[in-house]
Protein backbone atom coordinates (compact mmCIF):
# COMPACT_ATOMS: atom_id res chain seq x y z
CA UNK A 1 0.00 0.00 0.00
CA UNK A 2 1.50 3.31 -0.96
CA UNK A 3 0.87 6.44 1.03
CA UNK A 4 0.31 9.91 -0.26
CA UNK A 5 0.88 11.49 3.12
CA UNK A 6 2.50 10.42 6.36
CA UNK A 7 2.33 12.55 9.48
CA UNK A 8 4.51 11.30 12.31
CA UNK A 9 4.31 12.62 15.88
CA UNK A 10 3.74 16.21 14.87
CA UNK A 11 3.48 18.77 17.64
CA UNK A 12 3.08 22.49 17.33
CA UNK A 13 3.03 25.04 20.10
CA UNK A 14 2.33 28.71 19.62
CA UNK A 15 3.84 31.15 22.05
CA UNK A 16 1.79 34.26 21.84
CA UNK A 17 3.27 37.18 23.76
CA UNK A 18 0.72 38.93 25.89
CA UNK A 19 1.58 42.21 24.32
CA UNK A 20 2.81 41.95 20.79
CA UNK A 21 6.27 43.45 20.57
CA UNK A 22 7.04 44.93 17.24
CA UNK A 23 9.44 47.68 18.16
CA UNK A 24 13.03 47.73 19.35
CA UNK A 25 12.06 49.81 22.36
CA UNK A 26 9.56 47.15 23.28
CA UNK A 27 12.26 44.52 23.00
CA UNK A 28 14.63 46.58 25.17
CA UNK A 29 12.03 47.10 27.85
CA UNK A 30 11.33 43.43 27.77
CA UNK A 31 14.97 42.53 28.25
CA UNK A 32 14.54 43.57 31.84
CA UNK A 33 11.21 42.06 32.60
CA UNK A 34 10.18 38.51 32.13
CA UNK A 35 8.27 38.08 28.93
CA UNK A 36 4.96 36.42 29.51
CA UNK A 37 3.65 34.12 26.86
CA UNK A 38 0.37 32.48 26.33
CA UNK A 39 1.40 28.95 25.53
CA UNK A 40 -0.98 27.21 23.27
CA UNK A 41 -0.53 23.66 22.15
CA UNK A 42 -2.23 23.67 18.80
CA UNK A 43 -1.23 20.08 17.99
CA UNK A 44 -0.06 17.36 20.32
CA UNK A 45 1.71 14.33 18.92
CA UNK A 46 -0.38 13.84 15.81
CA UNK A 47 0.26 10.75 13.68
CA UNK A 48 -1.74 9.47 10.78
CA UNK A 49 -1.33 8.55 7.16
CA UNK A 50 -3.39 8.90 4.03
CA UNK A 51 -3.32 6.34 1.23
CA UNK A 52 -3.13 7.26 -2.42
CA UNK A 53 -6.58 7.83 -3.85
CA UNK A 54 -8.19 8.16 -0.47
CA UNK A 55 -10.70 10.83 0.55
CA UNK A 56 -9.70 11.72 4.06
CA UNK A 57 -11.66 14.26 6.08
CA UNK A 58 -10.67 16.11 9.21
CA UNK A 59 -13.38 17.42 11.49
CA UNK A 60 -13.36 19.18 14.83
CA UNK A 61 -14.57 22.29 16.55
CA UNK A 62 -13.05 25.72 16.09
CA UNK A 63 -9.60 25.79 17.66
CA UNK A 64 -9.14 22.05 17.53
CA UNK A 65 -6.04 22.45 15.35
CA UNK A 66 -7.46 21.61 11.93
CA UNK A 67 -6.14 24.67 10.13
CA UNK A 68 -2.77 24.50 11.84
CA UNK A 69 -2.45 20.90 10.73
CA UNK A 70 -3.30 21.84 7.15
CA UNK A 71 -0.77 24.66 7.20
CA UNK A 72 1.90 22.27 8.44
CA UNK A 73 1.07 19.73 5.72
CA UNK A 74 1.20 22.56 3.16
CA UNK A 75 4.65 23.56 4.47
CA UNK A 76 3.66 27.04 5.63
CA UNK A 77 4.36 26.29 9.29
CA UNK A 78 7.18 24.08 10.44
CA UNK A 79 6.29 21.61 13.18
CA UNK A 80 8.14 21.84 16.51
CA UNK A 81 8.44 18.08 16.67
CA UNK A 82 7.78 15.26 14.28
CA UNK A 83 7.75 15.21 10.52
CA UNK A 84 5.46 15.35 7.56
CA UNK A 85 6.16 13.32 4.44
CA UNK A 86 4.30 14.15 1.27
CA UNK A 87 4.81 11.51 -1.40
CA UNK A 88 3.03 13.01 -4.38
CA UNK A 89 2.65 16.49 -5.89
CA UNK A 90 0.49 18.57 -3.58
CA UNK A 91 -2.00 21.31 -4.40
CA UNK A 92 -2.83 23.30 -1.32
CA UNK A 93 -6.31 24.76 -1.65
CA UNK A 94 -6.38 26.63 1.61
CA UNK A 95 -7.51 29.89 0.18
CA UNK A 96 -8.75 31.31 -3.09
CA UNK A 97 -6.75 33.80 -5.10
CA UNK A 98 -3.38 33.75 -3.35
CA UNK A 99 -1.33 36.70 -4.54
CA UNK A 100 -4.28 38.45 -6.16
CA UNK A 101 -3.73 42.17 -6.38
CA UNK A 102 -6.73 44.45 -7.01
CA UNK A 103 -4.62 46.92 -8.98
CA UNK A 104 -3.52 44.36 -11.57
CA UNK A 105 -5.56 43.12 -14.49
CA UNK A 106 -7.32 39.78 -14.42
CA UNK A 107 -4.73 38.50 -16.88
CA UNK A 108 -1.75 39.47 -14.70
CA UNK A 109 -3.42 38.02 -11.64
CA UNK A 110 -3.98 34.70 -13.38
CA UNK A 111 -0.24 34.52 -14.03
CA UNK A 112 0.77 35.50 -10.49
CA UNK A 113 -1.69 33.06 -8.95
CA UNK A 114 -0.81 30.26 -11.35
CA UNK A 115 2.94 30.64 -10.84
CA UNK A 116 2.48 30.64 -7.08
CA UNK A 117 0.38 27.49 -7.33
CA UNK A 118 3.21 25.78 -9.15
CA UNK A 119 2.36 26.09 -12.82
CA UNK A 120 4.99 27.16 -15.30
CA UNK A 121 4.47 30.19 -17.48
CA UNK A 122 4.00 28.03 -20.51
CA UNK A 123 1.40 25.87 -18.80
CA UNK A 124 -0.54 28.98 -17.83
CA UNK A 125 -0.38 30.35 -21.38
CA UNK A 126 -1.58 27.01 -22.74
CA UNK A 127 -4.47 26.81 -20.30
CA UNK A 128 -5.25 30.50 -20.30
CA UNK A 129 -8.26 30.31 -22.58
CA UNK A 130 -9.75 27.45 -20.58
CA UNK A 131 -9.17 29.23 -17.29
CA UNK A 132 -10.90 32.38 -18.46
CA UNK A 133 -13.70 30.49 -20.18
CA UNK A 134 -14.39 28.40 -17.11
CA UNK A 135 -14.65 31.57 -15.03
CA UNK A 136 -16.85 33.12 -17.74
CA UNK A 137 -14.80 36.32 -17.79
CA UNK A 138 -13.67 36.61 -21.43
CA UNK A 139 -14.88 40.19 -21.71
CA UNK A 140 -13.34 41.39 -18.47
CA UNK A 141 -9.96 39.68 -18.37
CA UNK A 142 -7.98 42.84 -19.20
CA UNK A 143 -9.75 44.94 -16.63
CA UNK A 144 -8.35 45.54 -13.21
CA UNK A 145 -9.37 43.11 -10.55
CA UNK A 146 -10.73 45.88 -8.36
CA UNK A 147 -13.47 46.46 -10.91
CA UNK A 148 -14.64 42.87 -10.58
CA UNK A 149 -17.46 41.90 -8.29
CA UNK A 150 -16.36 39.61 -5.47
CA UNK A 151 -18.15 36.77 -7.22
CA UNK A 152 -16.20 37.33 -10.43
CA UNK A 153 -12.90 37.41 -8.55
CA UNK A 154 -13.78 34.22 -6.72
CA UNK A 155 -14.70 32.51 -10.00
CA UNK A 156 -11.40 33.50 -11.55
CA UNK A 157 -9.46 32.33 -8.50
CA UNK A 158 -11.32 29.05 -8.42
CA UNK A 159 -10.73 28.52 -12.10
CA UNK A 160 -6.97 29.01 -11.76
CA UNK A 161 -6.93 26.72 -8.77
CA UNK A 162 -8.64 23.79 -10.44
CA UNK A 163 -6.53 24.23 -13.57
CA UNK A 164 -3.42 23.88 -11.46
CA UNK A 165 -4.47 20.80 -9.51
CA UNK A 166 -2.06 17.96 -8.93
CA UNK A 167 -2.65 14.43 -7.65
CA UNK A 168 -3.02 15.37 -4.02
CA UNK A 169 -5.45 18.06 -2.94
CA UNK A 170 -5.53 19.78 0.41
CA UNK A 171 -8.88 21.48 0.77
CA UNK A 172 -9.90 23.86 3.53
CA UNK A 173 -13.57 24.71 3.23
CA UNK A 174 -13.14 26.61 0.01
CA UNK A 175 -16.58 25.41 -0.83
CA UNK A 176 -18.06 27.57 1.89
CA UNK A 177 -17.96 30.74 -0.21
CA UNK A 178 -19.97 31.89 -3.17
CA UNK A 179 -23.54 31.65 -4.35
CA UNK A 180 -25.39 28.46 -5.16
CA UNK A 181 -24.24 28.44 -8.77
CA UNK A 182 -20.62 28.68 -7.65
CA UNK A 183 -21.14 25.97 -5.07
CA UNK A 184 -22.63 23.72 -7.74
CA UNK A 185 -19.48 24.21 -9.84
CA UNK A 186 -17.36 23.33 -6.83
CA UNK A 187 -19.30 20.19 -6.12
CA UNK A 188 -19.05 19.21 -9.75
CA UNK A 189 -15.27 19.63 -9.66
CA UNK A 190 -15.14 17.74 -6.41
CA UNK A 191 -16.90 14.71 -7.81
CA UNK A 192 -14.70 14.79 -10.89
CA UNK A 193 -11.56 14.89 -8.73
CA UNK A 194 -12.79 11.90 -6.73
CA UNK A 195 -13.59 9.93 -9.85
CA UNK A 196 -10.12 10.68 -11.23
CA UNK A 197 -8.70 8.98 -8.17
CA UNK A 198 -7.06 12.03 -6.65
CA UNK A 199 -6.01 11.91 -3.05
CA UNK A 200 -7.96 14.43 -1.02
CA UNK A 201 -7.51 15.72 2.48
CA UNK A 202 -10.55 17.75 3.35
CA UNK A 203 -11.23 19.97 6.34
CA UNK A 204 -14.76 21.04 6.98
CA UNK A 205 -17.41 22.15 9.40
CA UNK A 206 -20.17 20.87 7.19
CA UNK A 207 -20.81 17.26 8.04
CA UNK A 208 -22.88 16.41 4.96
CA UNK A 209 -20.06 16.38 2.36
CA UNK A 210 -17.81 14.65 4.89
CA UNK A 211 -20.29 11.85 5.36
CA UNK A 212 -21.08 11.64 1.68
CA UNK A 213 -17.59 11.39 0.17
CA UNK A 214 -15.10 10.33 2.83
CA UNK A 215 -13.36 7.00 3.02
CA UNK A 216 -12.10 7.81 6.50
CA UNK A 217 -12.61 10.67 8.93
CA UNK A 218 -10.33 11.98 11.64
CA UNK A 219 -11.72 13.81 14.65
CA UNK A 220 -9.45 16.41 16.24
CA UNK A 221 -10.18 17.78 19.67
CA UNK A 222 -7.96 20.31 21.48
CA UNK A 223 -4.98 19.35 19.34
CA UNK A 224 -5.31 15.62 19.79
CA UNK A 225 -6.75 12.83 17.69
CA UNK A 226 -9.90 11.51 19.30
CA UNK A 227 -10.77 9.01 16.64
CA UNK A 228 -9.97 7.90 13.10
CA UNK A 229 -12.30 5.64 11.23
CA UNK A 230 -15.59 5.14 9.40
CA UNK A 231 -17.34 8.44 8.62
CA UNK A 232 -20.59 7.39 10.27
CA UNK A 233 -18.95 6.37 13.50
CA UNK A 234 -16.61 9.34 13.83
CA UNK A 235 -19.35 11.83 13.10
CA UNK A 236 -21.40 10.16 15.78
CA UNK A 237 -18.57 10.62 18.29
CA UNK A 238 -18.16 14.22 17.20
CA UNK A 239 -21.83 14.98 17.78
CA UNK A 240 -21.80 13.29 21.17
CA UNK A 241 -18.53 14.48 22.67
CA UNK A 242 -17.85 17.84 21.16
CA UNK A 243 -21.12 19.63 21.51
Amino acid sequence: MSFALEVNNVSKRFEIPHLKINTLRGAFVNLFQKQSYEKFDALKDISFSVKKGEFFSIIGKNGSGKSTLLKIIAGIYTPDKGEVKVHCPLSPMLELGIGFNPELSGRDNVFVNGLVLGLSKKEISDKFKDIVAFAGLERFIDQRLKNYSSGMAARLAFSVMIHSDKDFLLIDEVLAVGDTEFQAKCTEYFIKAISEGKTIVFVSHGLDPVQQYSNRVMLLHKGEILEIGEPQKVIQTYLEKCN
Binding site: N22, I98, V116
Partner: protein, 259 residues
Protein backbone atom coordinates in the same frame (compact mmCIF):
# COMPACT_ATOMS: atom_id res chain seq x y z
CA UNK B 1 19.17 16.61 -11.20
CA UNK B 2 16.37 17.20 -13.69
CA UNK B 3 13.99 17.89 -10.84
CA UNK B 4 16.37 20.46 -9.39
CA UNK B 5 16.71 22.16 -12.74
CA UNK B 6 12.95 22.30 -13.08
CA UNK B 7 12.61 23.77 -9.59
CA UNK B 8 15.08 26.53 -10.32
CA UNK B 9 13.38 27.23 -13.61
CA UNK B 10 9.99 27.36 -11.96
CA UNK B 11 11.08 29.82 -9.30
CA UNK B 12 12.99 31.89 -11.83
CA UNK B 13 9.74 32.52 -13.65
CA UNK B 14 7.98 33.39 -10.42
CA UNK B 15 10.74 35.78 -9.33
CA UNK B 16 10.79 37.52 -12.66
CA UNK B 17 7.02 37.82 -12.89
CA UNK B 18 6.70 39.22 -9.36
CA UNK B 19 9.41 41.77 -10.16
CA UNK B 20 7.62 42.86 -13.32
CA UNK B 21 4.35 43.21 -11.45
CA UNK B 22 6.09 45.32 -8.79
CA UNK B 23 7.34 47.72 -11.43
CA UNK B 24 3.90 47.82 -12.99
CA UNK B 25 2.19 48.50 -9.68
CA UNK B 26 4.65 51.15 -8.63
CA UNK B 27 3.67 53.63 -11.28
CA UNK B 28 0.05 52.60 -11.57
CA UNK B 29 -2.24 55.59 -11.67
CA UNK B 30 0.51 58.14 -12.26
CA UNK B 31 0.38 60.10 -15.49
CA UNK B 32 4.10 60.03 -16.23
CA UNK B 33 4.52 56.40 -15.16
CA UNK B 34 7.95 54.95 -15.81
CA UNK B 35 9.34 58.38 -16.58
CA UNK B 36 9.30 59.07 -12.83
CA UNK B 37 12.00 56.50 -12.23
CA UNK B 38 14.29 58.68 -14.34
CA UNK B 39 12.78 62.02 -13.49
CA UNK B 40 13.21 61.94 -9.73
CA UNK B 41 16.99 61.37 -9.76
CA UNK B 42 17.25 63.99 -12.50
CA UNK B 43 15.47 66.52 -10.30
CA UNK B 44 17.82 65.72 -7.44
CA UNK B 45 20.70 66.13 -9.84
CA UNK B 46 19.48 69.57 -10.97
CA UNK B 47 19.21 70.85 -7.43
CA UNK B 48 22.58 69.52 -6.32
CA UNK B 49 24.28 70.65 -9.50
CA UNK B 50 22.83 74.13 -9.23
CA UNK B 51 23.79 74.52 -5.57
CA UNK B 52 27.26 73.07 -5.73
CA UNK B 53 28.45 74.47 -9.00
CA UNK B 54 27.15 77.99 -8.26
CA UNK B 55 27.40 78.49 -4.49
CA UNK B 56 30.27 76.21 -3.62
CA UNK B 57 32.11 76.52 -6.91
CA UNK B 58 32.89 72.85 -7.29
CA UNK B 59 35.40 72.85 -10.08
CA UNK B 60 36.13 69.17 -10.39
CA UNK B 61 36.79 67.67 -13.71
CA UNK B 62 33.37 67.03 -15.34
CA UNK B 63 31.44 67.61 -12.14
CA UNK B 64 28.07 66.97 -13.85
CA UNK B 65 29.14 63.54 -15.04
CA UNK B 66 30.55 62.56 -11.66
CA UNK B 67 27.42 63.77 -9.93
CA UNK B 68 24.95 61.95 -12.16
CA UNK B 69 26.82 58.64 -11.86
CA UNK B 70 27.00 58.96 -8.08
CA UNK B 71 23.33 59.90 -7.73
CA UNK B 72 22.16 56.98 -9.83
CA UNK B 73 24.32 54.49 -7.91
CA UNK B 74 23.29 55.85 -4.56
CA UNK B 75 19.65 55.81 -5.63
CA UNK B 76 20.01 52.16 -6.64
CA UNK B 77 21.36 51.29 -3.20
CA UNK B 78 18.67 53.32 -1.46
CA UNK B 79 15.77 51.83 -3.44
CA UNK B 80 17.10 48.31 -3.38
CA UNK B 81 17.76 48.11 0.34
CA UNK B 82 14.41 49.68 1.20
CA UNK B 83 12.46 47.39 -1.13
CA UNK B 84 14.40 44.36 0.06
CA UNK B 85 13.84 45.14 3.72
CA UNK B 86 10.10 45.59 3.30
CA UNK B 87 9.69 42.71 0.85
CA UNK B 88 8.52 39.92 3.12
CA UNK B 89 6.06 42.15 4.93
CA UNK B 90 4.76 43.59 1.71
CA UNK B 91 4.10 40.11 0.38
CA UNK B 92 2.67 38.72 3.61
CA UNK B 93 -0.44 37.67 1.74
CA UNK B 94 1.68 35.19 -0.22
CA UNK B 95 3.90 33.82 2.51
CA UNK B 96 1.19 33.15 5.06
CA UNK B 97 -0.90 31.28 2.57
CA UNK B 98 1.36 29.12 0.53
CA UNK B 99 4.75 27.52 0.80
CA UNK B 100 7.03 29.41 -1.55
CA UNK B 101 10.64 30.08 -0.61
CA UNK B 102 11.06 33.53 0.89
CA UNK B 103 14.20 34.24 -1.09
CA UNK B 104 12.06 34.39 -4.22
CA UNK B 105 10.22 37.33 -2.69
CA UNK B 106 13.33 39.12 -1.47
CA UNK B 107 15.02 38.78 -4.84
CA UNK B 108 11.98 39.81 -6.87
CA UNK B 109 11.54 42.96 -4.78
CA UNK B 110 15.15 43.99 -5.24
CA UNK B 111 15.01 43.19 -8.96
CA UNK B 112 12.46 45.94 -9.22
CA UNK B 113 15.20 48.44 -8.34
CA UNK B 114 17.58 46.76 -10.80
CA UNK B 115 15.10 47.45 -13.59
CA UNK B 116 14.86 51.08 -12.53
CA UNK B 117 18.64 51.32 -12.29
CA UNK B 118 19.00 50.01 -15.83
CA UNK B 119 16.69 52.78 -17.02
CA UNK B 120 18.88 55.23 -15.13
CA UNK B 121 22.00 53.87 -16.79
CA UNK B 122 20.48 54.94 -20.09
CA UNK B 123 20.34 58.47 -18.67
CA UNK B 124 23.98 58.25 -17.63
CA UNK B 125 24.94 57.19 -21.14
CA UNK B 126 22.93 60.13 -22.42
CA UNK B 127 24.88 62.51 -20.18
CA UNK B 128 28.21 61.19 -21.40
CA UNK B 129 27.08 61.41 -25.00
CA UNK B 130 25.84 64.95 -24.53
CA UNK B 131 29.20 65.96 -23.07
CA UNK B 132 30.97 64.10 -25.89
CA UNK B 133 33.00 62.26 -23.27
CA UNK B 134 34.10 58.70 -24.01
CA UNK B 135 35.33 56.82 -20.92
CA UNK B 136 38.00 54.14 -21.34
CA UNK B 137 36.91 50.53 -21.69
CA UNK B 138 38.55 49.71 -18.36
CA UNK B 139 36.39 52.36 -16.70
CA UNK B 140 33.25 50.95 -18.29
CA UNK B 141 34.22 47.50 -17.10
CA UNK B 142 34.72 48.82 -13.58
CA UNK B 143 31.36 50.55 -13.75
CA UNK B 144 29.68 47.26 -14.69
CA UNK B 145 31.49 45.21 -12.07
CA UNK B 146 30.80 47.75 -9.34
CA UNK B 147 27.14 47.96 -10.32
CA UNK B 148 26.92 44.20 -9.88
CA UNK B 149 28.73 44.45 -6.54
CA UNK B 150 26.28 47.10 -5.48
CA UNK B 151 23.51 44.61 -6.12
CA UNK B 152 25.39 42.00 -4.12
CA UNK B 153 25.44 44.45 -1.20
CA UNK B 154 21.75 45.15 -1.61
CA UNK B 155 21.07 41.41 -1.41
CA UNK B 156 23.41 41.01 1.56
CA UNK B 157 21.51 43.69 3.42
CA UNK B 158 18.07 42.49 2.36
CA UNK B 159 18.52 38.86 3.35
CA UNK B 160 19.16 39.94 6.93
CA UNK B 161 16.92 43.00 7.08
CA UNK B 162 13.79 41.45 5.58
CA UNK B 163 13.27 38.77 8.25
CA UNK B 164 14.37 41.20 10.98
CA UNK B 165 11.91 43.80 9.78
CA UNK B 166 9.08 41.31 10.32
CA UNK B 167 9.97 41.32 14.02
CA UNK B 168 11.09 44.94 14.44
CA UNK B 169 9.23 47.47 12.38
CA UNK B 170 11.52 50.21 13.69
CA UNK B 171 14.13 49.10 11.20
CA UNK B 172 12.55 51.07 8.37
CA UNK B 173 12.79 54.29 10.38
CA UNK B 174 16.35 53.56 11.46
CA UNK B 175 17.40 52.70 7.94
CA UNK B 176 15.82 55.85 6.53
CA UNK B 177 18.02 57.90 8.88
CA UNK B 178 21.04 55.75 8.03
CA UNK B 179 20.47 56.40 4.34
CA UNK B 180 20.45 60.14 5.06
CA UNK B 181 23.73 59.83 6.92
CA UNK B 182 25.20 57.66 4.19
CA UNK B 183 24.26 60.25 1.60
CA UNK B 184 26.51 62.77 3.33
CA UNK B 185 29.12 60.19 4.32
CA UNK B 186 29.56 59.01 0.75
CA UNK B 187 31.30 61.04 -1.93
CA UNK B 188 28.13 61.63 -3.95
CA UNK B 189 28.13 65.40 -4.47
CA UNK B 190 31.70 65.98 -3.35
CA UNK B 191 34.92 64.27 -4.19
CA UNK B 192 36.73 62.05 -1.72
CA UNK B 193 39.86 64.17 -2.05
CA UNK B 194 37.98 67.03 -0.38
CA UNK B 195 38.02 65.08 2.88
CA UNK B 196 41.06 65.09 5.22
CA UNK B 197 43.57 62.38 4.33
CA UNK B 198 42.98 60.34 7.48
CA UNK B 199 39.24 60.56 6.97
CA UNK B 200 39.52 59.34 3.38
CA UNK B 201 40.92 55.99 4.47
CA UNK B 202 38.16 55.48 7.01
CA UNK B 203 35.49 56.44 4.52
CA UNK B 204 36.69 53.89 2.02
CA UNK B 205 35.80 51.17 4.49
CA UNK B 206 32.21 51.89 3.59
CA UNK B 207 31.50 49.66 0.59
CA UNK B 208 29.18 52.27 -0.81
CA UNK B 209 31.86 54.97 -0.65
CA UNK B 210 34.41 52.62 -2.17
CA UNK B 211 32.16 51.74 -5.07
CA UNK B 212 30.99 55.27 -5.82
CA UNK B 213 34.38 56.92 -5.39
CA UNK B 214 36.25 54.54 -7.67
CA UNK B 215 33.51 54.42 -10.27
CA UNK B 216 33.61 58.20 -10.52
CA UNK B 217 37.38 58.51 -10.70
CA UNK B 218 37.65 55.64 -13.18
CA UNK B 219 35.05 57.01 -15.53
CA UNK B 220 36.15 60.62 -15.51
CA UNK B 221 39.83 60.68 -14.57
CA UNK B 222 41.04 57.22 -15.61
CA UNK B 223 42.09 56.78 -12.03
CA UNK B 224 41.44 53.09 -11.35
CA UNK B 225 41.41 51.23 -8.05
CA UNK B 226 44.44 49.01 -7.51
CA UNK B 227 43.82 45.47 -8.71
CA UNK B 228 44.68 43.98 -5.34
CA UNK B 229 42.21 46.30 -3.64
CA UNK B 230 39.46 45.41 -6.06
CA UNK B 231 39.97 41.68 -5.79
CA UNK B 232 39.99 41.90 -2.00
CA UNK B 233 36.86 44.00 -2.07
CA UNK B 234 35.23 41.49 -4.40
CA UNK B 235 36.04 38.59 -2.10
CA UNK B 236 34.85 40.43 0.99
CA UNK B 237 31.54 41.23 -0.70
CA UNK B 238 30.86 37.60 -1.44
CA UNK B 239 31.96 36.45 2.01
CA UNK B 240 29.51 38.96 3.48
CA UNK B 241 26.78 37.66 1.20
CA UNK B 242 27.52 34.14 2.45
CA UNK B 243 27.29 35.24 6.07
CA UNK B 244 24.07 37.04 5.31
CA UNK B 245 22.57 33.92 3.75
CA UNK B 246 23.49 31.87 6.81
CA UNK B 247 21.88 34.43 9.10
CA UNK B 248 18.87 34.49 6.81
CA UNK B 249 18.49 30.75 7.17
CA UNK B 250 18.53 31.12 10.92
CA UNK B 251 16.17 34.11 11.05
CA UNK B 252 13.79 32.44 8.68
CA UNK B 253 12.57 29.86 11.16
CA UNK B 254 9.08 30.43 12.51
CA UNK B 255 8.95 33.65 10.55
CA UNK B 256 5.40 33.16 9.32
CA UNK B 257 4.08 33.15 12.88
CA UNK B 258 5.41 36.67 13.43
CA UNK B 259 3.82 38.32 10.43
Amino acid sequence: MRALYRKIKKYRELVWHLAKMDVKLRYQGSVLGYIWSVLSPLLLFSVLYFVFSNFFKMNQHHYALQLIVAIMMFGFFNEGTMAGMMSINAKANLITKINIPRWTIIISSTLNSVIIYLLNVVVIIGFFAFNKFLPSWQAVLIFIIFSILLYVFILTFSFIAAPLFVRFRDLSMIWAVMIQLLFYGTPVFYSLSAAPAAMQKIMLFSPLAFIIHFTKTSLVDNHYPVLFQTVLFFLISFVLLGISLLLYKHLNKRLVEHI
